[in-house]
Symmetry: C2
Subunit: 292 residues, 2 copies
Amino acid sequence: MTRPIIFGEIANIPEGYHFEGRKEMMPTSFHRNWGAGIDGNAKEGVSAIVLSGGYEDDQDLGDEIIYTGAGGNDANTGKQIEDQSWNNRGNAGLLKSQNEGLPVRVIRGSNHKSKYSPKSGYTYAGLYSVVDSWEEEGKSGFKICKFKLIYSGTNNTRNTAEEVEVRYSAEPTKRKESTILRIVRDSKIAHNIKKLYDFKCQVCNISIPTKTGNYAEGAHIKPLGIPHNGHDSSDNLICLCPNHHVMFDKGIFAINDDLTLIGAVSGELTVHTKHDLNKENLKYHRETHGYN
Amino acid sequence: MTRPIIFGEIANIPEGYHFEGRKEMMPTSFHRNWGAGIDGNAKEGVSAIVLSGGYEDDQDLGDEIIYTGAGGNDANTGKQIEDQSWNNRGNAGLLKSQNEGLPVRVIRGSNHKSKYSPKSGYTYAGLYSVVDSWEEEGKSGFKICKFKLIYSGTNNTRNTAEEVEVRYSAEPTKRKESTILRIVRDSKIAHNIKKLYDFKCQVCNISIPTKTGNYAEGAHIKPLGIPHNGHDSSDNLICLCPNHHVMFDKGIFAINDDLTLIGAVSGELTVHTKHDLNKENLKYHRETHGYN
């Protein structure tokens, strides 16, 4: 496979785009595999999947999809004949996408049994995030690897993750009242910063282990959104473990211009030579949290 | 003040409910203070706020509100005459609501300058969550305490947090692509479990310090939502620090029936004598993450 893997939207292929066949998806790297449903691998993550009705345990609720991983089925009959494995190239790739917050392009084929499927060919359903993964005994009796994907594109007329939960949950009124939802879709910039630190926290050097590498979060120094209006740029991002992310956002500690820490955490921020931090934003974070 | 504080919705007072005056809000504990904008305190948190145009630094975007804390203004003129303090009863209470994920009833008065304000009296705007807090120099030159609240009620026709961000951000298309959004609205059940453990992690005993106590997260053993359909009940909830919450959700460790841990974390889960865990759900979590 010589074409590079590309994550996120591909130019001139918007949501709802129709393909007559799989071959058309290949030149742009939209989906590089003619045969397999999953485009990607354990090292890079998965950039695209095709839903084509190959698995009997899938569920498609539109903006929320329960997807069966790859492997263990007979090439001719499609029937499950052995356990699936998390080491399978595609399954390990989907775990990687989950842990690193990579966006996955979802494509529905006409063979996929869902009211969202096209009558012929394939349609692009948009960008999704892998938010959960687990294993279970499939209808076949064999172990299968499963993934939950939620729509995470920028189409405002579609459901966001939370709305989908509300609508389809077994307990519709309770779902929204409950605890914490992590939206794991990172920008390319945040992802690159996390990679630069090998997903280790710049404060405590801890990395959260997962089945496919480490997990970390991109924290904005000057917050995004009103009224702060910080930017999603590398000089405004640091790589933190979830605990230090919570503490930083709440201003329980802050960062001096010389990178020493102040507040409830002592020590110094580890900063890579290739990573310049915006000192104005460090100052903004300090001042807004009372470190003068 | 003898009436008890009540969090969340009050019977027979739906979103949009109109009050002629502040006194009407008192018998039901909807808002117990006739004079103050904030109903609550540092120990219990804040259950309700009234937006009444008292502060010149407020911003009201409907489902997203930038709110100025209490104190430092002249009782007669309303003008800011000294710095506000995080120790102020109402401000400390709003921090508590932020850290513990408590819902805040928001009420708009006719004096509040916003297109969402009623022409007369007061209207109930629904439940909001405090998602951010910081200090800044107000228009007056004095330090003011500020809070960001986002709508977190169950009205599906209103904007969810993420949609609001998308709509009002300085960089509308970028916001949705970026990192992690913590929805901090807990159910009463999750809040009670966290309180039972004094907001300490049941795995590592760490508590995340904040300005007003500790921070922890309620983690569901059998996940909510499809396809797992776990319940938001105390026997399905544990109190974890953000790091162990991420690890538990990803199945990097699991819990045996005898409460010892398996996987990448060793040791034993601390469990309060008043807290019964659902063993079927512990088994479900183990099995779906490959611990057999």
